[in-house]
Symmetry: C3
Subunit: 216 residues, 3 copies
């Protein structure tokens, strides 16, 4: 059983690691302290803010409970001071990131559904919640979004699979406290396997002369 406290702790942990990934990106790009803070906040909160704007839940959760703004600040401070250590923990960070993705995607789908969206639309918005922050991070940091790059391991597809599972479960008698953690576990395990086996999404076949310009 997932209690509300456990969920909140998990959510703040997800925000923390998303923020760490934003802060590390900023450090790698040579940004200043402001850039590290901005990328930490945007990466951690961007997906949820997009979701809340779409469902009309204003002000977004990120602007309601102080913890949402403070946790990325703490993550930025940790990354600022201890980024060589954090970078050595790269796999651990990716593990937590997968957990954050799973959690945000499932809770995002549930929140959208609770606001009256259709089940497919809710699933799409759940995926937006999970991947939106990283997309904004990459746009601000001026790097080709990991979301669309062909050399990155599957990320959105596990999220889509889990959100679709939640959307299907809406139409059954299975209670939320049963299927929500199962869907999150599906996303987590799928993403983890994709990372370990380096699964990639397919690319459209190019024929004849290759005008493909890869600019990572």
């Amino acid at each position: 059983m997932w209690g509300h406290t456990a969920l909140s702790v998990l959510e703040l942990a997800g925000i923390f690691v998303f923020a760490i990934s934003g802060a590390l990106t900023a450090i790698q790009k040579g940004f200043d302290a402001v850039g590290i803070l901005v990328l930490a906040e945007v990466t951690a909160l961007g997906g949820g803010v997009l979701r809340d704007l779409v469902i009309g839940a204003t002000p977004p959760a990120a602007f309601q409970h102080l913890g949402y703004l403070l946790v990325p600040l703490a993550a930025a401070a940790v990354a600022f001071v201890a980024h060589p250590v954090v970078e050595r923990l790269a796999f651990t960070v990716l593990l937590f990131d997968a957990a954050g993705l799973a959690l945000f995607c499932v809770t995002g789908t549930l929140i959208a559904y609770a606001h009256g969206l259709g089940s497919v639309q809710s699933a799409v918005l759940g995926v937006v919640t999970g991947v939106g922050g990283g997309l904004l991070r990459d746009v601000i940091a001026r790097q080709t979004p990991a979301l669309v790059r062909v050399d990155t391991d599957l990320y959105a597809i596990p999220a889509m699979a889990g959100a679709a599972a939640v959307a299907l479960a809406h139409h059954t008698a299975i209670p939320v406290p049963v299927y929500a953690p199962l869907a999150a576990a599906l996303i987590f395990a799928f993403r983890l396997t994709a990372m370990l086996r380096h699964w990639k999404a397919p690319q459209a076949l190019r024929t004849g002369t290759r005008p493909s310009r890869s600019e990572a």
Copy 2:
């Protein structure tokens, strides 16, 4: 007379070709299947979502009727499989894109006006509806937005002309079913002529040493 069904068919056709343009951009950039889908959805729906967020019509239309999300998915699948064919149909795609621009711009202006915005503000939001998706596409694909580039044929200016015509017509006794299709036809014809004659928007004159950094 434009019946509601005809309008819906036209709207879905506009969404389809906007999505095709997003998918083709993703393929040219060498993105993976997820990137193709993301760019198809964002290009097709981005302008309308921006409009709906600004007028406070949440959830945006894109998240209300399932067709809005599914048509770009279909377009992405078509482009993924058949992009060499689609690319050979480049002019046809541009024709439909001009039709989509005309339609989105006029309906966007009307919707904004119906939500109580002033006529100039409605026209501006109509233009945002027409060009917003393409702008988001270019930002995510990391290319200088076609909207602002000096080497692209007029695109926003036909949209502005049509939206301004709708805004002016608001103050006359001409009924909407008369002026709306006329304004859409104006945009379509203006955009088509601009494409065929390669009309460009003027650039500010640069004097002395040219610090202009063109980075297409």
Copy 3:
């Protein structure tokens, strides 16, 4: 005492110079007239629109009073015709930009607070109001945001200091007409000093091999 008219004049002046900065960026990048207009509007109005979307005040102020849309249009026209003169006035533009930052940041914080946000959240949204337009300008113009670059003088930090001052003042008996101009003066003076002394925000120390990829 700040009368309402004086505040409106100051606000439109702030919008004007933010728009000038957007237009000049577009001219330096070699964008066409549409690009100059788009960057002028987005830079001037983007921060306020983001703020209004977050607090749920739709349509945003930028779409309510016509002056908000017309002033950036005028600024774009001035920059288009007279940009060599405007560029020679670079320091004057930066002065007004500092005034715009101060004003937007303080009014943004006050507006957010009036909409029921907590004081820290209001301060964050005030900073977003002040720096959001410039961030969007840089994303569209495809340059590394000045906000995060290590070679730019302090910009967000004076804004944060002023917004924090407003947030603290909320909890005292000091009336708004007293502390608001003081906080704006603090931002203005802090930003000006940072410009004159070239104060930079610190960067995270990099150790060992430098994988820092600077791509200004």
